[in-house]
Amino acid sequence: MLFQIDELQRKAKLIRGRILEMVVSANKGHIGGAFSCSDILVSLYYGGILRYDPGKPDWSERDRFILSKGHSCIALYAVLADLGYFPLQVLSSFCQNGSILGGHPDRNIPGVEIDTGSLGHGLGVAAGLALCAKMEERDCLTIVLLGDGECYEGSVWEAALFSAHHELNNLVVIVDRNRQCATDFTEDCNRLDPLADKWRAFNWDVREINGHSFVELTDSMKELRSRSSSRPLAVIANTVKGKGVSLMEGKVRWHHGVPSGENLDIARKEICQG
């Protein structure tokens, strides 16, 4: 699926709107991080980066997308439902009793590759998937979305070492660099900067982009299958937590939270206006 930039913008607006309504309906959800990665997900699924078939979630030649920052699953759910992996109305069951859509994703959900929720697992599993594709000489990509706060986990760097050593150039990490963890700003907690240099030091190719620019997102990840480099690729996507709703943008308190009253009206209006 390959959308033009204005189509991607419209789709992102739609996805953010659905995220908002899921959170309001369930009265819970990690809305800030879901909004910071919404444009990334829209680029991956609608911008011609990922190869997939919603009608065949188990297609062997599909690219694998791993949402390592599993708490942002509402963004992924909105995308997967929009693509037809499951009916749109299932979104309204988010976090309800018996729903397939929980607060963190698992692979019982069509389109979800692995169970995530505890941070620091996704890259290692993705490295195994990418290594498997190499062994079998399949041209599938494995793309992992990490939170920047997730990069505190030591297992991320164990996997980064492994991936570079095994020259997994079919593996792409996108770091949702919204500069916040759950209760703090990352640079006030344990400084992550210079984050790009850290990935370079682990022998990864690195691209730093504006994670809300569809031009930069799609440019930085086009032609991933024909990269000449033997290194895995890290895309540091600079984003804003809560992006799209001014009262949430850059505010730590919106790691998770449910807007109500006037705030909800503002959120709906701003997302709609985009």
Partner: protein, 331 residues
Amino acid sequence: MMTDSHPVISQDISEKDIRDAFFDHLYDLAAKDKNLIFLTADMGALSLERFRNDLGSQYINAGIAEQNLVSVASGLALGGKKVFIYAIAPFITQRCYEQIKIDICGMRLPVTIIGSGPGISYGSDGPTHHAIDDIAIMRNMPYINILNPSDSVLSEAAAGFAYESNDPIYIRLDKGRPPVLYERDITFHDGLSVLKQGQDLTIITTGIMVHKAFEIVGELARYSIDAAIVDAYRIKPLNDVMMTDIISRSEKIITIEEHSVTGGLGSAVCDLMADRGILKPIKRIGIRHVNCTGYGSREWLHEYYGLDSRSICKEVISWLGDFLCTKIKKY
């Protein structure tokens, strides 16, 4: 097989180290199946050299990074590979417990976790290297099978069983050449074996302690106590039907393990009895709430922690109390 003496059946495999028997068979399986991938956290073994040299594309040293080792194994298994991972037992269980829980067992993937050095087999290397609570934590993992081979035949069979299985498996892989107890046609289907029948007492044990049970039974016989020996070589899932039958026909039960008494084989047997409503005297023998900071050989540590045959006998006889007095009076 039921005999009073410590049986040695197959001279051929009896010359093999338990660990070598496992890895030699794994080599044969891997040579026939390119989908079998072996990953180690920088742990070797002489018998692995052939694997590494001949089947290099299927052998990965992932370095001392057990959490990543488990996650990579998960990815490979998701891709359709049959994966075996290998490290020192506490490091491949406790350090990466969450990776095993989420990345392997939660998704019910066919990954076999090989823990080297069960119990206190690392001897003088000390408490960091001992695995005396690995059964306790791994028993709580969904879908997992826990195997604890007591001889080279079972060890070889464990490799085949793991290869055929579609579930996660944890193997407590010992080393050394204890006498062989089994014929080569053994499978893991039953999960346990009655190695000796006995009227008065049933000893349920596992792994290397099975051999100690034969010494204990010999000692108890001097007091006219006729004890049975059950080798629970598959600790999870226990064979409920067979184990219930054995326990129901036993006067008293003793469990012996080179593991903490909390959460190990003894606890598993007690759980079974509780769930089945079986009220029988049972005594759990193992390591009691210590950090194993004593340094010495495995044999020395067994004495230190009361797991040598003499100490166990003493404990059993003391526990038998009135039962034993009656016997001695008759004698």
